[in-house]
Subunit: 304 residues, 2 copies
Amino acid sequence: MTEHWQIGVDLGGTSFKCGLISPEYKIVARNHAPTHALAGPEQAAERIAEHVRALLKALPVRAQVSALGICSPGPLDPLTGTLIEPPNLGWRDVPFARMVSERVGMPVTLEHDAKAAALGEYHFGAGRGSDAMALIIVGTGIAAGIILNGQVYRGAHNSAGEIGHITVDVDGPICRCGSNGCVEIYASGPGIISAYEYAAHTRVDSAEVIAQAAERGDENARRVFARAGRALGAGMASLAMVMDISTFVMFGGVMQAGAFVLEPTAQALKHYSYQSVGSRARIVLAELGSDAGILGAAWRAAHG
Amino acid sequence: MTEHWQIGVDLGGTSFKCGLISPEYKIVARNHAPTHALAGPEQAAERIAEHVRALLKALPVRAQVSALGICSPGPLDPLTGTLIEPPNLGWRDVPFARMVSERVGMPVTLEHDAKAAALGEYHFGAGRGSDAMALIIVGTGIAAGIILNGQVYRGAHNSAGEIGHITVDVDGPICRCGSNGCVEIYASGPGIISAYEYAAHTRVDSAEVIAQAAERGDENARRVFARAGRALGAGMASLAMVMDISTFVMFGGVMQAGAFVLEPTAQALKHYSYQSVGSRARIVLAELGSDAGILGAAWRAAHG
């Protein structure tokens, strides 16, 4: 009997990562390449196809790859497989799933990276067994991938999950999006860097540097993460109350600050939630790292 | 051929209202009675059954009532038809749908009042034709009934839609729920009354009195509604962004303040929403008044 394997591809602004996935959803072989050098979508599709063909050489006898799933930053259309305007790539309205499919000769699906990572963590990682789960990605931006009863929640216009722009202070600082008091101002990597740089009157390269400073006892770093966690937890409380979410899987560079950000997040989630919602909610760390997107994209390719 | 009619019952803290509903979803006959005098759930079921039997006398020949739907304030379990702890009635864990069903000899369903009213406005009122709708009830409390693709959105534990306790200011005033900065503090009837009483250094009986004062040019009344609308619109923006809601149907006593509350609500919804979400969102007033619950409860009884 033929074994059905899959391939998952995580296409990001700096690199793409490919994985060959067994029927038990283990990543058996991998490869990756930078994206910044790509001249455009045609070349990107071609390079991904080359890497996919390389992975196929690791396929056992009697196994067959039945589906290829790609995930990417949005906005994108998961139904038509079109990249609408992926950040950092400068492309527009590219029918990327079809372009890759023509080159590899198998069906290809396209999924938003946060939603693919959420599917990965839900099926194979920290979200296993949850009935209503949100993967919260806290990095350059803040987004949620929401899984209800095993299905990705998309909303009527495929724009659900914009947790980064929930308002937690109607009088708060102005945001890049034109609003003010958004969660991202306080808890995104750039927001944390700006707040720390002002308070400590210095320059830093990344939120990781500030996490290390917090570890060493730097009070400014600790205060910035406490404030980030409070805003993040208040936004997650809104999500918990309007959508009845009980499991939050935390992911992204900012989570490297560990308890400095997680404790205030958990406290705020409980404090700003209504009654039973807050006591039911649990926060866990993502388990799969960047494999979540690869596995989730492949899962979606196989299950539609 | 037998015509299938329905009966809808709106069970509130002060009265219950019954309607006999034609196949075209017109309320053809009605009756109502106060609830405060009821000794307990047994008597309530009996009195409702009496009112239902009275309505059945208005049923045309060849017509038959195939389903009875009741709506009530939560918390309740719509699957088992159990009232868990209805406010103002002092009952606990009452299998009310079964109790009424045994007395009227037909299937009876139980639905949360906000969700029933949302179904009513979606099918027969201001929400017709919308793809993702939230009925926002702004009265003593603030709650949302959410309809996605024609279905009530319940969440994993049937507690979705708690928009009244979304945090719009992490440093805001303390709330009855134990949190602070909740939408209800600013925009509920009691919240508006408290804010106005403090500002105007007077006592008022209801938010309607404050709406009349705003109409007459009372600056304190106008400021209180402006603040209420800003908080309400910011909370609705969170709902729009996490669930991708595009149609908001506004309902409840506070809406009697008209443009004094609706204009700042619409401005805040747009300001605090992310990009396309805010420009897509539209706010309309509910059309059906208290009939929305009766019609929505009956619709749910007929369609499961």
